[in-house]
Every structure is written in structure tokens, then in C-alpha cells.
Amino acid sequence: MSSSSSPVEDTLGGTAGRPGSRLRSPTFRRTRSLTGIPLLWALPGVALVVAFIYVAFGAGAWYAFTSWDGVSASAPWVGLDNFKEIVNDPSARDALWHTLELTAAFVILVNVIGLSFALALNRTVKSRNWLRAALFAPVIVSPIAVSYVWQYIFAFTGPLNSLFGTLGLSSWQHDWLGDPDWAIWTILVLLVWQYAGLTMSFYLAGLQGIPEELDEAAAVDGASTAFRLRRVTLPLLAPATTVSVALTTIFGLRVFDQVVGLTEGGPGGATETLATQVYKQGFVQGRFGYSAAFALILTALVAIVSLTQIAVLRRREARL
């Protein structure tokens, strides 16, 4: 056994591991890592992903160019007619607008609130572990179940309005889910409540990775808390911010359970989103081809927005 060879090369045996040998070549090592056993072990997972995601996606995308009703054996080809109808349909444009405004508000609020929780619970607070668990608990509860509970809370005769009445705040009582101006913001409240714990966990993980010494050094140099947050903590949180903002953007764009549970897209279509349109056009009105067109547009929107966002945030990380 050569004392200068590596254990791997010893395993491979004999003269193979000597300096200058083919086995020491980086190209040979790269090639070995990409082929052979590891690829075979990955094959079942890849096959499942291809079958259940990409093939299914392809089949769904094909239906977007047909007028399939979900029941008939045949799916007549209609080309781009579904997409033309979406472009010309005011309710479809409204659904797109509601999706974008809800997503924008959700991403900003849930990340600001999650970061605030993370900063507050990162160190020193004695009950921080219990508080972290309590704030994370809504994340793990079924969204549709939570939505039906909150529907009861927000109902005109529900506990929220009753509480306002009890506290002498009758002027605050409102038809939260039946008012077209308020309904979408009521959904936003539920979304932020449910997912603030998730963003908190992202930022907590990021904060754990920042050396305390950096913050202490800045404090010793006389930097204020706000300055240290702006110039030390936030820049070093860039990777966590990228992940959190990207994921919450995706959640927001495809929000469905909370809308269906609280308002079913009403009142009067005031909270319809692209995802609820996919559901209604397909399963309520039996226009599966039209529904698939909506789904394709939603998929493209999520892909474009999230990939653009990740690219911008990554470039920002690199600059920092």
C-alpha cells in the first residue's frame, strides 16, 4: 500500500493510486461521481417525478387547448380559443389582479412580521422555545380546517363582532366576509396569521448562522441597535431572505384553501383568484379545457415571478 495514496485509491487496489495515475485525474474523479451507482439509485425518484409531475403537467397542458367537459370520452381541439377568452373576460382579469395584490401584501407583511418574531426570539427571552413553538403551530394545521374556523370567527354574528360589541366598540362591527372592500383583506389576515411562523423559522435559521462577535464588535464601536440591524444583521440574512421571499411569493400566487374556506371567491367575485378560477371553471362549470388554460397561465406566472425574484435576490446576495 502506498503511503501517499488515498483510502479510496487503496480500495481500488494496487498501482492505481500512484501519483500521475489516471485515478488521480480530476476529470476521472468527476466522471466517476456522475455515472454508475449514484445515478442508478436516483433513477426511481427521477422516474416518479417525471411520471407524476412532468407527464401529468404535459397532459394537463394539452387539455388547455381543448374544450373537454371532464366527462365525455373526446376532447375537441380548440387551439388558442381558451386563452383568447381569458384575455377578453373581465372576471379573469379581476382574478389576476386579486391574485397579484393579495400576493404582494402577503409577502411584505408575512416577512416583516416573521423577521420581527425571529429578532425578538433569537436570544435572551427565557420562554423563547415555547413562544417559537406557539408561533409555528398555525403552520402545521390544515389550511382548509383553519379557514372554516376563521369563517365562523369573521361571520357577522361571530365571536369577533360579539367581542367588539362587548367592549363597547359596536362601530367596529362589520360584515368582514360580505363586504367586497374588506373581504380580500380578511383573507390576508388569515394568511399572515397562518404563515408568519414559517417565515420566522427561516429567519431564525439565518440568525443562528450570524456570529455574535460581529454584532458585539459593532456595538463596542458605538453602533446603535438600528444601525447594527441595517448594516450587519440584514445583509447577513440575505440568503434566508431569498428563501423566505421566494417561498411566500409562491404560496401567495397559488392561494386557494383560505379563499374557498372564507368566501368561495365572493362576495360578487371580489376575492376570486387564479387558483379559485381553475377550480370553479373545471369542477363547478365542467369546463376542464378552460380550467386547464387558467392553470397553465398560473403556472407560467408563478415560474416567471419566482425565478425572476430568486435571480434578483441572489445577485443582491452576491453584491453584499
Binding site: 442508478l40 366527462v71 360580505g178 362576495p267 378552460y290
Partner: protein, 446 residues
């Protein structure tokens, strides 16, 4: 030696991996071929499909045998459960495994199951073409069994023929007839000393009286097409019984029909007369039933089979009455033959499933089922025998001043959905009658 051990490990891993992938691919191929064979059936092949369908059930000395899966609507659960018990008592070897879905998402559940090749043996659906899973579209797609040979086939009422027959073949059992009107808490009306209104003016007036007593005349549901359909019986179809055919031929429109404008303006009139409870805009059907149960509201715009749910909510004395027109003479209640049961064409227990439908269609059982559900059996309606809770409709049935439920013959469900959303838009002030009806026209056939 080491190299040989690695090669052997690699070979074992490769064999295992390919075996696993092969198993997965063969499973996918098996399920896709079975689903494509289901999708490939057409109405012309329905008879052949029925003949070749495998059945594991059989008739026994004491009746049929086997277990059938049934999917029904939650509001009908109490009535249907009672009849299932009677069927199982008469057929000890047979069992009905029934599940019930909320009206809010029933058709979505049924569509998914039918599409997935996993349709229940027996399922609730509607006659006509109004829903993607109504009898006619399902029959044309070869998804429901031919019931033409059933002993009750000749009893399907003539007005309901277009809802249940396709190419002269019968594909569903109409469960009952049910009038659409207002289901009242009659006991509380008596306590308040208020009479059931017979004209629209009286109706609006009693809304104010009941509001003054701290209650609401109606437990409103914001996004509910019944808010538009029920008044339309008097305002549209009483004056133009052929409106559906004319709309299909594009000779009339929703927005251009004064009767439809009048029907939707009645929603505004009810709101202004404080007929509805506060927060009606966002109210759901569950909240409305709950409000009836707590006697916060004394009426519900609904088909008569809502009686079962309202009684279950705790209201003791209940009855359904027509929603009055401008005058008593102009009042026309709507009568629905829509509620049906169908047998899946791919049922493996078709004999038992059909036997269950035959059992329900027998006059005594049909009458019992209708009484429990708050409706009228087909046979009883033909004889003019109405249950006590529906006696108010007797003159209309006797004189045939009844309108068949219109949406059963509307192309697609788009217009109905537009009227449901539009009802809510009118209540919130987002839209007016004309705007809602223009949306209904735009959604026709979709």
C-alpha cells in the same frame, strides 16, 4: 478482490433498481389501460357495456345480495337512511354503503369520482343538462346504466321526459317532485300573530313586522341562485312558459326580458324591506339553517326538501308556501323533478343497484321517502295527494299552474352561477339587476 466486491454490489443495486422501475411502470400501464377503456365508452356502446359488466351480486331466495356504494346529498341523509334500512331489511344479503356530500361541493366530488373511473354504484344527480354530471351528459358519455326495462319507467311524468330520457332510453330514477318557495316556521308566525302572505305587498309588509319583533323574515344566503329563480316562476315563466326554448334559440335574453329584471329587483326590495338578517351578503346555507333553528329568522327561500334540514335544526312546525307574486293570481310556484338517482355504467353490482332503485320507486316506499324528505312522490303528485307541509301548493298542482324548474334545461351551468354571484352582487351593491342579467347572458352555454 476489492474491485470484485464493488462490482458485485453495483450489479445487485442495478438489478434491484431496474426491477423497481419495471414494477412501477407496469402498474402505471395497467391503470391507464383501465381508465382509457372507461373513457372510451360511448352512449352507443352503453348497452354492450351493461351486458358485459361483471357482476358479483346475484339474486337469492330472500332478495338481492351484495354491497353497493351510494353517494347522496347531506340534506337527504335522514330520509335516505331510513329507506336504506328498509331495503336492507327486505334484502338481508344486500348492504348499501352510503356516503353523503354537502351541496357546496357535491358535484365536484361526483365529477372527480366519475372521471377517475371510481363512480359509486348508485349516486344522486340531477335530471337534464344543467350540470356536467346531470343525467343527459352522463348518458351521452356512457357513464350511467340504461334503466328502460325498469317496472317504473312508464311512471316518469311527461314534463320530466326531457330530463331523464336520451334517445328514447331511460337513465335515471326521478326521486320525487318538490315545489320551490318559502319554508316558514309556521309555529312562530302563529305566536307573532302574522299570517302567511299571499301577495308580494303583504310579504314585504310582514318583513317589517317581523323585523320589529327582533327577528328576520328570511334567513338569506348571499350567493344563492334561488334568490333569482324562485321569483322568476311568477315574473318570467308564468307569462312565457316557452322562455327556455326561446333562450336556447337566442330569441330572448336574460337582460332583455322584463320578467327577469323584475325578479332580480325583488331581491333589492327584500333587502330594503329588511326581510333578510344582518350580514346576509356573506351568509352561507349552513349559517341560514342554523339561524332558522335558533328562530332568528322565520323563513328560507328554498326547495321544499329543506324542511328536513330545518326540522333537524329544531324547528317544530314547518311548512312550505309559494313565494307570492304581485297578486295572488300571478303567483306561480316552481316544481322540480330534478332530484334523481342513477346507476353507474361501470358498476360491478348493477343487479343490486337496480333492485335498490326499483325498491325506492315502489309507491309505498316512494311516498315514505318523500314524506321524510319534505317532497311529493311522483305517484302521489299524480293523484293530487300532498303532505300536510305542502298543502298550500295543492291548488297549483290541481290546476297545473306549476312551472318546471328552469335551469334543468339551461345549456351549461354558467348562467346559474352568474345568477348566484349576481344575487350577492345585488345585496352588496356591486351591481344592479341589468348588470347581473348581462353577465348571465354572457355565461349562457358555458
Amino acid at each position: 478482490m476489492s474491485m470484485n466486491r464493488v462490482s458485485l454490489r453495483g450489479a445487485i443495486a442495478a438489478v434491484f433498481t431496474f426491477a423497481l422501475v419495471g414494477l412501477l411502470l407496469s402498474a402505471c400501464g395497467g391503470s391507464s389501460s383501465s381508465s382509457s377503456s372507461t373513457a372510451g365508452s360511448t352512449s352507443a356502446e352503453t348497452a354492450a357495456t351493461n351486458e358485459t359488466a361483471e357482476t358479483t351480486a346475484g339474486s337469492t331466495e330472500g332478495g338481492v345480495s351484495g354491497t353497493i356504494r351510494m353517494l347522496g346529498l347531506t340534506p337527504q341523509e335522514a330520509a335516505m337512511s331510513a329507506l336504506i334500512e328498509e331495503f336492507e331489511a327486505a334484502n338481508p344479503e344486500a348492504h348499501v354503503d352510503a356516503q353523503y356530500g354537502s351541496p357546496a361541493n357535491y358535484y365536484q366530488v361526483l365529477t372527480t369520482q366519475v372521471q377517475g373511473g371510481n363512480a359509486p354504484d348508485v349516486f344522486y344527480t340531477n335530471g337534464g343538462i344543467g350540470q356536467p354530471t346531470s343525467i343527459v351528459p352522463l348518458a351521452e358519455a356512457g357513464k350511467v346504466a340504461d334503466l328502460s326495462a325498469s317496472p317504473w319507467a312508464s311512471e316518469v311524468p311527461q314534463p320530466a321526459h326531457d330530463l331523464y330520457f336520451v334517445n328514447e332510453k331511460l337513465y335515471g330514477l326521478p326521486l320525487w317532485e318538490k315545489p320551490l318557495g318559502v319554508v316558514y316556521n309556521i309555529g312562530e308566525y302563529k305566536n307573532l300573530g302574522i299570517e302567511i302572505p299571499k301577495t308580494w305587498g303583504q310579504f314585504l309588509q310582514q318583513c317589517g313586522q317581523i323585523h320589529a319583533a327582533g327577528k328576520s323574515s328570511l334567513a338569506g344566503i348571499g350567493a344563492n341562485y334561488m334568490n333569482a329563480i324562485i321569483p322568476a316562476g311568477s315574473t318570467v315563466y308564468a307569462k312565457d312558459p316557452e322562455w327556455n326554448a326561446e333562450r336556447t334559440a337566442e330569441k330572448v335574453t336574460f337582460a332583455g326580458t322584463p320578467g327577469w329584471n323584475e325578479a332580480l329587483e325583488m331581491i333589492t326590495e327584500m333587502k330594503e324591506a329588511e326581510c333578510f338578517q344582518p350580514g346576509v351578503e356573506g351568509a352561507t346555507i349552513d349559517a341560514a339553517i342554523q339561524l332558522m333553528g335558533s328562530e332568528g329568522a322565520l323563513g328560507l327561500l328554498a326547495p321544499s326538501d329543506a324542511i328536513g334540514a330545518i326540522v333537524a335544526a329544531g324547528v317544530k312546525e314547518v311548512g312550505s308556501f309559494p313565494l307570492p307574486g304581485k297578486t295572488a293570481a300571478e303567483t306561480r310556484p316552481i316544481n322540480a323533478y330534478s332530484d334523481a338517482l342513477a346507476v353507474s355504467a361501470s358498476s360491478g353490482e348493477e343487479e343490486t343497484a337496480v333492485a335498490f332503485l326499483d325498491f325506492l320507486a315502489e309507491p309505498a316506499h316512494a311516498k315514505h321517502l318523500a314524506e321524510l324528505a319534505g317532497t311529493i312522490s311522483i305517484q302521489a303528485a299524480a293523484k293530487g295527494e300532498l303532505p300536510e307541509s305542502l298543502e298550500a301548493y295543492a291548488p297549483y298542482y290541481e290546476e297545473e299552474n306549476i312551472v318546471s324548474y328552469p335551469p334543468d334545461l339551461w345549456a351549461g351551468s354558467g348562467s346559474l352561477e352568474a345568477l348566484a354571484t349576481g344575487s350577492q352582487e345585488i345585496l352588496t351593491g356591486q351591481n344592479d339587476a341589468k348588470g347581473v342579467l348581462e353577465k348571465a347572458d354572457a355565461a349562457w352555454g358555458k
